[in-house]
Point group: C2
Chain length 201, copies 2
Amino acid sequence: MGRTSDARERIVRTAARLFLTRSYQAVGIDELCGAADVHKGSFYYYFPSKAHLARVVVDHHAAALWARLDSAGAETPLRQLRAVADAVGAIHTDFESRFGRVVGCAFGNLAAEVATTDNGLREHVAAVLAEWERRIAIICHRVAEEGLFRPGVDPERFAHALMAQFQGLILLAKVSRSPAADISRALHEVIAANLREGVLV
Amino acid sequence: MGRTSDARERIVRTAARLFLTRSYQAVGIDELCGAADVHKGSFYYYFPSKAHLARVVVDHHAAALWARLDSAGAETPLRQLRAVADAVGAIHTDFESRFGRVVGCAFGNLAAEVATTDNGLREHVAAVLAEWERRIAIICHRVAEEGLFRPGVDPERFAHALMAQFQGLILLAKVSRSPAADISRALHEVIAANLREGVLV
């Protein structure tokens, strides 16, 4: 059979897809169960509510992001930083080829939707975004230690600006239907703009 | 009386507030009518649907933004650019004092929510964001003509990066409940980072 045993995973994968291609608010539990081919009783066996499912979906995307970042295997801090921009670009190029367009950041979409309506879910998304920024800040500190940033670039603040740049570029690409390739290009420009003159990128 | 004659404006103002403090999807027409103290018949007399109302709300915010930018009265291109950052900061400081926290950009929130679910509304929001970017690009070209940007800074691309920075910073402040003052400070840092060394900001 296997139908029941993989029901939980089917629900999570279906929700991840539908939250991205439509939105968290727009997708109801009935629609989710239909698309995942599970009974509503199964849904509630695994998840007390759609908000609980959303946390699991966020964790699923976060685990994929950390794995992608960890596997980049870049040798120098600057290459690590550029690998983060490449990873973001690759995620949205993947979404674009799967869904036909840029559909937004799984964390940013949910942040925009629920920050004012579900405080528990807001905190969960905020924690993932904070962890992502912390990882970028560690890399930025290493780039700073090598003296590669322009004078005046603070690693912590640049990590925050870069996170904001990710989120803003992805949101603008989503609303204006521009290609995913533009996101990666713009991110590399922002990194290059903050490096000391003469640093080879 | 005046009750009926200003019903349309009450609906728009109430929707502007509720879409910001909760969200577009979360607020139904019944709730809107209750909060605006109008009958549902009045609502449908003015607006065929919530999506039509949302377009009027977007236009209301856009008109307020253009008025704010036009009244800045800065004398030099660089001051004009800084005035845009100040305007964005002031909008979110206003929201913070009205609503107790950063609630997001009226355009960005809607962009995130409806870009995948309502193509007409997506296009409407995208057009306002494009007009905003066009206005910033005009200023950036003037800053470039005065030779104030660092070598390699393209005015059009910097205008896009700055728009992305606005949207990303506002979204991160909203989800992490950080103060509005951080938005303005970070925007000024991004502008300063793209100016030629020695330019007084």
